[in-house]
């Protein structure tokens, strides 16, 4: 369309066309205060009118870990070497939980916030971002509990030794956050059109956990399962991230063959994978936010 007076001073335009790779980072930065306020809101209101309050942060991973220890190590007899089985499971669950919580909470972003999204504009991605950030607090509390148990078990020599690679922990958390956010954004975009996905998410996450090496070392899978099944674990990025974390804290003391060294390249590769999934999720999310209010 030709304009009689092509005026370059317009601040912005609203039209149906947009750049696929326009991530609007500048705009997100402008709304950073909102991000922090959402985080604050989530934290403050989560346990209002509950009896145990933030204790729920602790009860859930501890109980899960106890059950896993009974089932997988007690009944199924999975070996965790010189590392206490409970501690071994707690390590996996703590890291896994961060991913699962981020994914679960972000996957219904559009549906849950339909009301507010239908009234006011702000970069929608602020919502899932704030969830990922506020879950960090939960992760921090759970990590503290893990450290407490770690210290306790290391007194009796059941915890292996901490390796220098522990410094990679922030990267591990970043990878888990990006994966949870990326998958969450993809699913939340699809849920606006196909509601069935909500049901899939619930038990999908559960199934996914079993192939993510949360309660067993990856090496065991290779030993015990035929290759047409074990690839599910071997090529699962989450399994590798969790395995790496465990290697970092236990120095591989749970393995039969601890020389199987920690691989920085492996982690960097996971980081790239996570980043790609995150970007992909962001693109889909940005496409959806433009018109979702018409379909939701």
């Amino acid at each position: 369309m030709d304009k009689p007076q092509k005026n370059n001073t317009w601040l912005f335009e609203i039209s149906s066309k947009s750049n696929l790779l326009d991530f609007k980072f500048k705009e997100i930065w402008q709304y950073r205060d909102l991000l922090m306020l959402f985080v604050r809101r989530d934290v403050v209101t989560l346990y209002k009118q509950t009896v145990l309050g933030p204790l729920w942060y602790l009860i859930q991973p501890l109980l899960t870990s106890v059950i896993f220890t009974l089932v997988f190590n007690g009944i199924a007899d999975i070996s965790t070497g010189s590392v206490n089985a409970f501690l071994f499971n707690l390590a996996g669950i703590t890291i896994w939980n961060y991913f699962a919580e981020c994914l679960k909470a972000t996957s219904d972003t559009f549906k849950k916030n339909e009301n507010i999204f239908g009234k006011v504009y702000f970069p929608r991605v602020i919502m899932p971002l704030s969830i990922t950030v506020s879950n960090l607090l939960k992760l921090a509390i759970q990590l503290l509990i893990f450290i407490a148990f770690y210290v306790y078990f290391s007194l009796s020599g059941d915890a292996g030794t901490v390796s220098i690679y522990i410094l990679w922990t922030p990267v591990i958390i970043l990878i888990m956050g990006m994966l949870g956010l990326g998958f969450g954004m993809i699913i939340s975009s699809m849920v606006t059109k196909y509601r069935d996905l909500t049901f899939l998410v619930q038990f999908g996450i559960q199934l996914f956990m079993y192939i993510s090496a949360v309660m067993y070392p990856i090496a065991i899978v290779k030993d015990k399962l035929p290759s047409y099944v074990s690839w599910l674990v071997e090529y699962n990025p989450l399994a590798h991230v969790i395995e790496s974390f465990r290697y970092m804290v236990f120095s591989g003391a749970y393995m039969k063959d601890p020389t199987n060294d920690f691989s920085s390249v492996n982690i960097l590769a996971m980081l790239v994978v996570a980043f790609v999934i995150f970007l992909f999720g962001l693109i889909i999310f940005n496409r959806t936010e433009r018109n979702f209010i018409d379909t939701v």
Binding site: M1, N7, T9, W10, L11, F12, E13, I14, S15, S16, Q30, Y31, D33, L34, M36, L37, F38, R40, R41, V44, T45, K48, N115, I116, F117, G118, K119, V120, Y121, F122, K193, R290, N291, I293, D294, T295
Partner: protein, 441 residues
Amino acid sequence: MEEKEVILRVENLSKQYRLGVIGTGTISHDLNRWWHKIRGKEDPYLRIGERNKRASLGKTDYVWAIKDVNFEVRSGEVLGIIGKNGAGKSTLLKILSKVTMPTTGIIRSKGRIASLLEVGTGFHPELTGKENIFLNGAILGMTKAEIKTKFDEIVEFAGVQRYVNTPVKRYSSGMKVRLAFAVAAHLEPEILVVDEVLAVGDAEFQKKAIGKMQDIAKGEGRTVLFVSHDMDAIQKLTQRTVVLSDGEVLFDGDTEKAIQAYLNQGLDTKPYCEWEDMDTAPGNDFGRLKSAAVRNEKGDLCNRFSVRDDIYVEVSYWDLNTEYNNTAIIHVVNERGQRLFASNEFNAPDWLDFHNKEKGIVTATCKIPRHLLAEGQFNLLIAVGNYNPEIIHAIEDNLLSFEVFDDTTGDGVRGPYAGKWPGIMRPMLAWNIKKEPLDSK
């Protein structure tokens, strides 16, 4: 007033919706769309679609909620947007506030747009008033620092000083609305979009809100788009108004005229109406309407009068009443639906001469004198009935309509004054004048 620069321009804006359920068929349409797109062809579903008429059944599932809407807003202007339900107001606002995207067309803006579509958006019931002010302000696009500097002002404007540290779930609904409006009114966007907020809150707060909106527009030079069904609020706040009808711009201009255009929608302006068949004409066995007409002095049908013209309303009916004396009744209603006055045939001194309990066709003419009605459009209710006992035999609302204009030639009520003249009536009244010399003491 000097011409300010255009701050917002809406060009050929259209939005298409698909009616019915999203489910089967969605994917096939999506695929078809995608297939056309990769071959570089136009979206096949954009060619179809109809104007958005709610009441009539359409042929396709696709409708244009708004279609080719164009208008401009200048900096500091308060623009009203009115239209019937389903005219496309909400869709337009949603696009303006970036909640949803247009199908085609473009909006260009030189300022930030903040919307106040429905108050209390994003209030969290568990959080206190203070926390919600910050949260809501941030949702609307303010930074924390901005809110901090305005915080006291907001609390004072909302009048909730005592409740600042109480969770919002304990607020009355009125308090919530006031708090929400206060936050939004203290926003600093260049363009503020307001939808129907004034419908809530008590009279005092409404007054405050309207005052604040005027301040925003006049004092602070910000631009306001104001959407409402409340004609009084529209008139108080805006000089210019856009009327939407079935997704298209029906009128864009002076608010006074826009309100007329809005109110006249769907009304036929016709000075004449007749029923040929007595058996099917409106009425009953005691009286049926035959015809009604608006005529000028010469007796010609007319639907446009000067304020200086006498207006003749002629009602003709089959008088079948052999028990009581029938009378023709007219009501004059202005374009805002205000009933100005009613008049009855029985005011004629010779009325009883024609109502001697014999059947016949009565034609009664009422003269509405010059210098009585104001400018505008008027609708007539025509009825036939009898009093004592009170029975209406035939009644037709909005049957006829006519227009009155004032061409300010100097001999009317307003004299040579060409500006707006207040009042819903414009009677020429008698004045009595006295004057005494100054030094009479």
